[in-house]
Symmetry: C2
Subunit: 193 residues, 2 copies
DNA sequence: AGGAAAACGGAGCATTGCTCCACTTAATAT
DNA sequence: ATATTAAGTGGAGCAATGCTCCGTTTTCCT
């Protein structure tokens, strides 16, 4: 129920052209609205911006998480793909891990409210949670394993816990110059050694 | 606007007995409801439980944060007071810091949704944020300073950032056996050394 | 007791999530 | 080209919740 084609692109929508057109309109509108109002923006507003009815949004994206996922799919994908590349290119596995986490944090930090949504136990976001995890957990695990094997860090840290923690640390950084998640994340990483 | 007597007890309510009685009824009801439904529970429900109208709650506690603060005041106070005591009794300043953080985490973790509320940028919780910070930040700062002076940890970590991070890490641990904030917090503390 | 001030309570408005269903439209069959 | 039908659409409507307004009730003071 989370998504669709297990390893694939978002569904092209039905075969009907109006369906495809509307789907895209919603995606575009959502992307715009998310920037200004965060991923919690009222569905009504997105519908209005897209020039469609609310039901159309719910039909294409049954839960809010589905919509958010679809909007950010490319970026999540990019982040996932960066993992192996960094592992190959960086000076050390630990360095690869650090750089990858930087990437991940950048992503979360620039999307208003995304981190909040990610940790939410709200049912509406369950699918978002799933997608992030399904896609990024293996990557994180791989980096973690490599760093352990290289002796850079101690074994025993679970990818899930690490990613969850990083996500949490990214919450609510907005409008608060006193709080920079990156510093704490660096500290956390340091504690891993 | 956050609270009342700067360094003191909660206001006794007005002089009128019905006001005092109702205030206490609300506090009791809120405490019960918070346990089962979290600090986000509908005001209506608290009002019903207390046997008062909603306006009465809003009159006594203008914002939700005021109510939450009042309910947990004693425990916040206890946590604040534990700081200096631990510093005196523990084996090392670092150990005092660790124990104090344990106390703080216990507090957050046992209050359903408190951590979420604490980090929220929602205006309704601004006062909660303030109160926590006003009361606990100096304590944390003191512990941190002592640990730095003893050479246990490096200088440069801001109390605000640390507490904020710990609070964030405590978010959403409920119903998720895979996520234990304490492990990550230990890691963070380790990174401080 | 009498009256003023304080407190009260719930109806009411606004916002938002989500659903239901009568209508419209695109694809297809004839 | 037209008719048929299934897919798609939109917005009214209901429920939950936050917060306020104001007529009524209670308390306290003299």
């Amino acid at each position: 129920m989370a998504t669709d084609s297990p390893a694939g692109e978002p569904p092209p929508g039905g075969t009907r052209v109006d369906a495809r057109r509307n789907r895209q309109a919603v995606l575009d509108a959502a992307a715009e609205v998310f920037v200004t109002s965060g991923v919690d923006a009222p569905i009504r507003r997105i519908a209005a911006r897209a020039g469609v009815g609310m039901a159309t949004i719910y039909r294409h994206f049954p839960t809010r998480a589905d919509l958010v996922t679809a909007v950010y799919r490319h970026q999540i994908e990019a982040c996932a793909e960066a993992g192996p590349r960094l592992l190959a290119d960086a000076d050390s596995p630990f360095d690869a891990l650090r750089q990858w986490i930087d990437l991940f944090v950048d992503f979360l930090v620039t999307k208003h409210g995304l981190a909040d949504a990610l940790r939410s136990d709200d049912d509406r976001f369950a699918a978002l949670h799933s997608y992030f995890l399904d896609r990024l957990l293996p990557v994180c695990g791989q980096l973690l394993d490599a760093a352990v094997e290289a002796g850079d860090i101690e074994a025993g840290t679970q990818p899930y816990e690490l990613m969850r923690g990083i996500g949490n640390l990214c919450i609510g950084h907005e409008n608060d110059p006193r709080y920079d998640p990156r510093r704490l994340i660096a500290l956390l990483l340091q504690g891993l050694r």
